[in-house]
């Protein structure tokens, strides 16, 4: 007797959810990112108007002046959903942990002169408050924005800013023997040191911004491209004695910036390309917020590098060039 082994290929009744299949144009297997993103946000049948803003519904396309026929067009090229985001960040964090252990083991930060350590306390630690403000901005865009394609990466970015604030705090704790006195002093610096007042005003002005896509433009082209780029790009120059160890400890920030820009560029590009009106609006916002960020960063750049704000202006020029590459009229 011979036994024949046969396999049967069972066709699944459906390959994905109906709402995803409508987006893909056919019932075919969808990626996790697509299933976790496309048309996930509720769009109708809300029961009550929000009392705090009765002119809008909970999710309302009118909360920004830019108009998109479809808010699921600006997709995330990194295809982040909960698990891919966490895996990517866990890997980055592991590298950061190793660098902290390395710097701690060799006492690289505390070996520097008292003067050099004081410069770090004054010139770097207050940036954790800027990250905290950015965290609130990204969370605000998550709650006022429209469509999971944009709002999900916004909350990931909010988490990133919180993480970066923690990395900066840990540099402070490494300097003050884990007591936290450094951080209290950095808060005072953030509130009263003239070098930081421009940046503080900038982030506080963005906190009260109601148009969420203007806020997006201000955050990614103003705060990220000008101020954060300036701060993390100037480390070696601003703190010559501990520049290398600081560059190691903030390696997360440069990896993050490259990653975040991939996403924020795709969003800006797709929104500006939607219509002439969008392009005009976003270009206007970019122009205004890059200029404000440069004015804000000038005293900081002067304080860090003693360059009368030249590095801030150069960062502004680079941000404008970056915006032009995305199709903005700058």
């Amino acid at each position: 007797m011979t036994v024949q082994i046969k396999t049967i290929d069972l066709e699944p009744k459906r390959n994905t959810f109906a709402h995803v299949a409508r987006r893909l144009g056919a019932d075919k297997p969808a990626s996790r990112y697509q299933e976790a993103t496309l048309d996930v946000q509720a769009t109708e049948n809300f029961h009550y108007k929000p009392l705090w803003e009765p002119e809008y519904w909970h999710y309302d396309t009118r909360k920004t002046a830019v108009v998109m026929a479809d808010w699921y067009k600006p997709l995330d090229p990194r295809q982040f959903y909960y698990s891919t985001y966490n895996i990517a960040r866990a890997n980055m964090n592991q590298a950061a942990e190793k660098n902290f252990a390395f710097v701690d083991e060799r006492g690289l930060l505390t070996k520097a002169s008292a003067q050099a350590q004081a410069a770090i306390r004054r010139g770097l630690l207050p940036v954790r408050h800027l990250h905290w403000g950015s965290n609130m901005n990204m969370a605000e865009m998550t709650q006022r924005g429209y469509g999971t394609a944009v709002t999900a990466p916004c909350i990931f970015s909010a988490g990133d800013h919180l993480g970066m604030a923690q990395i900066v705090s840990r540099i402070g704790l490494a300097l003050d023997g884990q007591t936290g006195t450094c951080l209290a002093a950095a808060k005072q610096g953030w509130m009263s040191n003239p070098a930081w007042q421009g940046v503080r005003k900038l982030i506080e002005d963005t906190l009260v911004q109601r148009d969420w896509f203007e806020l997006f433009t201000a955050q990614v082209l103003g705060v990220n491209e000008v101020v954060l780029k300036l701060v993390y790009g100037a480390l070696e120059q601003a703190f010559p004695e501990s520049g290398l160890s600081l560059a190691m400890l903030t390696g997360f920030m440069s990896d993050w910036a490259a990653d975040e820009t991939r996403w924020s560029d795709a969003v800006l590009k797709s929104v500006a390309a939607e219509s002439e009106a969008n392009k005009r609006l976003v270009s206007g916002w970019a122009e205004q917020w890059i200029a404000r960020a440069v004015t804000a960063a000038e005293p900081l750049s002067a304080g860090l590098l003693g360059d009368h704000g030249a590095a801030a202006r150069a960062a502004g020029e680079a941000a404008r060039g970056h915006g032009r590459k995305l199709g903005l009229a700058l």
Partner: protein, 90 residues
């Protein structure tokens, strides 16, 4: 008759971007669906491009990673940082 260059991949989320990339980059590919696996056949030559896979996957991808979802293959393998090509050399 030309011999078939062929690759069999697991049919799962990790392999789907690779399968899609092969189907896009090799116009004459024949697709054979089996339970849990997909066999892709090409006359003479079958190529997997890193750039096409990365575009679909949304992250950096090395052609070596194909081993994680590879079931079987037929043809002489030529592999570098940018591609993974199967063909029959005369």
């Amino acid at each position: 008759m030309t011999q078939l260059a062929s690759i069999t991949l697991m049919h799962n989320d990790a392999a789907r971007p690779i399968i899609d990339a092969v189907m896009a980059d090799n116009p004459d590919v024949r697709v054979l669906n089996m339970p849990g696996a997909v066999k892709l056949d090409c006359e003479g030559r079958l190529r997997v491009n890193r750039a096409s896979v990365e575009e679909r996957m949304g992250r950096a991808w090395s052609p070596q990673e194909i081993q994680l979802v590879l079931v079987s293959m037929a043809g002489n393998l030529e592999e570098d940082d940018d591609q993974f090509t199967l063909s029959w050399r005369k």
